[in-house]
């Protein structure tokens, strides 16, 4: 057994009104992959922010012992100085700078303040090859996908001579292929003696690569499991405090007539007028039906949904939308909402929430009419609504007055969901509704989806997790490069069948 590289002892951290961490202990051994799991809001990110000096010494209680020495990090720079590098849940790259510039940001390859561009590029190239990313270092970060951006973050960490790499939900928005590549990289790092701490809600990944797992619940350490003890069921039981027999709640679908129909939908790229992003799509959803759209990252699913929802994406949009057989105008978000169409975004920070305002105001924002008369808000009614949805979606917060920017990632996602549930739409489009959400809460969200379907709503779910789609939908569309390339009842679908549809389409395209 290798030595302990890091020990955190009795860490307690309080925010006004919330005890985020209480007497948490963590020990990490040299060159292992140590996973941290726990429900949304359990305190995982907070613990890592304590470790990396985002919350400076003095703002928490407890001890951090790194390589045998007690540390008092005052800032991120201090922790980086000893080789601890954190990659946050939300990526921190500058979109309009190049890959090379991002890698060396704050750590420029410069002499006397003058940047040595050759050195910068060479250095970047070396680091990129270490993480297996084949991109020109001069490419702007905005022009590469999230998966690659994640690798750039890691390259940036390597440039700081990392000894202990912390990754907070690195694979949440990655495709399966990119996720696998990233995990392989961690395994490779382990071989080279770099220790990793990995936070993730994807338990299958964790059981695959982690050497040990620490479970946190309600701000406390529950246990640390060794390799031989690890199993998904075991993790879940420890995480939520009870066993979860099924991952997907059962239901008997009652499917009626077609409610929502889209015909011949085409969209062009917002900047490049000639690039067609969505190509002649036809879909329909029936009453009480849960329909899924499967596809790889970048297949255009979000773009399709957003263009449908008040032309929120793209230009030169053409096609028709029918509700109960009648053609409707969805050319602005207001009109779409007034027809009972809702879209809950996958990108909660950019499109979902007013991060500086609290839960209550965010919950009612899409349906202020529901809590007001003649433009005057009934604050008591609003309070009731906010509390009700906070309870239904199980949002973990001190009260409905907690600012959403201070919520944990998963709980932010639940606020976005609450907002659209309260808008009470007839057609609900959910884009990656469980991204970053823990297993227990996922189950609750599926239950809510089932309830909505039972009420006769039409639901469209976009998800990159195929087991999820297979678990909760009635019918599936498969999308690839802006086209619908397959449709099947979920009962007859499988991951292989979906992949085959995608591969077949790609074969045709080339």
């Amino acid at each position: 057994m290798s030595e302990t590289i890091l020990e955190m002892r009795g860490i307690t951290k309080t925010f006004p009104g919330v005890k985020a961490l209480q007497d948490v202990n963590l020990d990490v051994r040299e060159a292992e992959i140590h996973a941290i799991v726990g429900e949304n809001g359990a305190g995982k990110s907070t613990l890592m922010k304590v470790l990396s000096g985002v919350y400076p010494a003095g703002s928490y209680d407890g001890q951090i012992v790194y390589k045998g020495q007690e540390q008092h990090f005052k800032s991120i720079r201090d922790s980086e100085h000893v080789g601890i590098v954190i990659i946050h849940q939300e990526l921190a790259l500058v979109p309009l700078l190049s890959i090379a510039e991002n890698i060396f940001l704050g750590n420029e390859q410069a002499k006397a303040g003058i940047v040595d561009w050759d050195e910068t590029r060479d250095g970047a190239r070396k680091l990129l090859s270490m993480v297996g990313l084949k991109e020109d270092p001069d490419t702007l970060v905005t022009n590469i996908g999230v998966g690659k951006q994640q690798l750039v973050e890691i390259a940036k960490a390597l440039s700081k001579e990392v000894k202990l790499l912390i990754l907070d939900e690195p694979t949440a928005s990655l495709s399966e292929k990119d996720s696998a590549a990233l995990l392989d990289l961690l395994v490779e790092f382990r071989r080279q003696g770099i220790t990793s701490i990995l936070i993730s809600h994807k338990l299958n990944e964790i059981s695959k690569v982690a050497d040990r797992i620490t479970v946190i619940r309600d701000g406390r350490t529950i246990e640390t499991m060794n390799k031989e003890q690890i199993s998904e069921d075991r993790i879940i039981t420890s995480m939520v405090g009870r066993s979860l027999d099924d991952r997907y709640p059962g239901r008997t679908p009652q499917i009626g007539e077609v409610v929502f129909e889209v015909k011949n939908w085409s969209v062009y790229h917002p900047q490049h007028r000639d690039r067609q992003v969505i190509k002649n799509i036809d879909i329909n959803i029936r009453k009480g039906e849960v329909v899924g759209i499967a596809g790889l990252m970048g297949s255009g699913r979000t773009e399709f949904a957003m263009s449908l929802f008040g032309k929120s994406y793209g230009q030169k949009i053409s096609g028709e939308v029918f509700l109960h057989g009648k053609k409707v105008d969805t050319s602005s978000v207001g009109k779409a909402v007034s027809h009972g169409i809702a879209y809950a975004t996958e990108d909660r920070k950019t499109y979902g929430l007013n991060l500086i305002d609290h839960i209550k105001h965010n919950t009612t924002l899409a349906n202020l009419a529901g809590v007001s008369k003649f433009g005057v808000i009934d604050d008591m009614a609003e309070m009731d609504v906010a509390n009700d949805y906070r309870k239904r979606t199980n949002i973990r917060s001190s009260s409905v007055y907690q600012v959403t920017g201070n919520l944990s990632g998963g709980n932010q996602q639940k606020v976005v969901l609450s907002k659209w549930l309260f808008a009470n739409p007839e057609v609900l489009i959910l884009d990656e509704p469980t991204r970053g959400i823990d297993v227990g809460a996922k189950y609750e969200i599926y239950t809510i989806i089932n309830q909505l379907a039972a009420q006769g709503k039409a639901i469209l779910v976009i998800s990159s997790e195929m087991p999820e789609l297979l678990g909760i939908t009635d019918r599936l569309y498969v999308m690839n490069e802006g086209r619908m390339v397959g449709e099947m009842p979920t009962a007859e679908a499988s991951q292989e069948k979906i992949m085959r549809a995608i591969v077949r389409a790609e074969g045709k395209a080339s």
Binding site: G241, S332, M383
Partner: protein, 426 residues
Amino acid sequence: MTTETAPSGITATGEKVKVQELSVWGALQANMRDYGLMLALILIMLFFQYFTNGVLFKPVNLTNIILQNSYIIVMALGMLLVIVAGHIDLSVGSVSGFVGALAAMLMVGWRFPPELAFLANPFVAGAICIVVGAVIGAAQGYLIAYHKIPSFIVTLAGMLIFKGLSLAILAGKSVGPFPAEFQLLSAGFIPDLIGPTTLVAASEGVQPLVLHTTSLVIAIIGVVAMIGFAIHGRSRRKARGYESEPFGLFVAKNLVIAAIVLFFGYMLASYRGLPNVLVVMALLIALFVFITKRMTFGRRIYALGGNLKAAALSGIKTERLTFYVFAIMGALAALAGMIYAARLNSATPKAGQGLELDVIASVFIGGASALGGVGAVAGAVIGAFIMGVMNNGMSIMGVNIDWQQMIKGIVLLAAVFFDLYNKNKA
């Protein structure tokens, strides 16, 4: 290894719907900023009261402070919306100057043919001025909202344009005086419907003390209404279990506010009564508090400034909303311009210049965020009074204008610094 059985189920969620009553200290901390600002204003007033040898609190001076700052406060209300929406309006000073000039030309400058003579009527002219202000604001708002030109640039251009236009229509001269009705806007006081009451008759060696009873009664009615609303709101929240403010604090807060209002009401009543413009201001303040706190329109402005994209994707018509905000700002700038002109009793080409800086500073001292989405009407009003009292106090003390500017700049910085410090500590 630790194995611990924590309570089963998913805890720490919304089981307890009822809001817990905070401790007095907790409630004070939670509202630190509001109380802090109020306290700062009181301290500043006491400071000047002392260093002006008691001149500051003289009824005549208090009346002056209100008259001198009324137009700033009127514009600060609109500026608050603009800043909360994530924009800025640099043109308000020039627009107010321009509208003041327009008012003067309509009422006394231009010779209308008989069939158009009604335009010179102070009420007609006043209405025209407000509409012109709203149209100016709307035009700028249109460019900002629908053509996405940054507000900084549009209103910077507006500032130059209307500065030039005032000069042009006044032909470089001062125009006045205004008709008597128009002067009442700034120089008038609430007429004595009841009273006045003579408390101390004039006699040898004794200053007479005459109280304008009507004004005092209005102040008392205002206080009673305010307390009534507060009690009603509290009992409503209490009934639903949503009250968090400790009772003691609630009583203390309302008593203090009532005492302050009554004190100033009494002071004003003992001079010439409530100025008309104060009544206009109070109504506008109440209206804007209501808009920002209770109306969907106000709520949407906060959402727009907090996250434009999320607001748009929630079905908020962000463009139209921005447009309205600037139109309202324009109308208020027009009103302020008229108050200013009525106060000077003439329109001058330089009127209004630089006022935008005081207005913007007031809103930021009041706690608004330059990034949008944060700010309160009460804060902006107190911020304006802080600036106003400092101006007034320093003038009485005979502080040079150069020093005055520097001190105001430092106070602005200190207020914003204090804000950020507070936020980071939390």
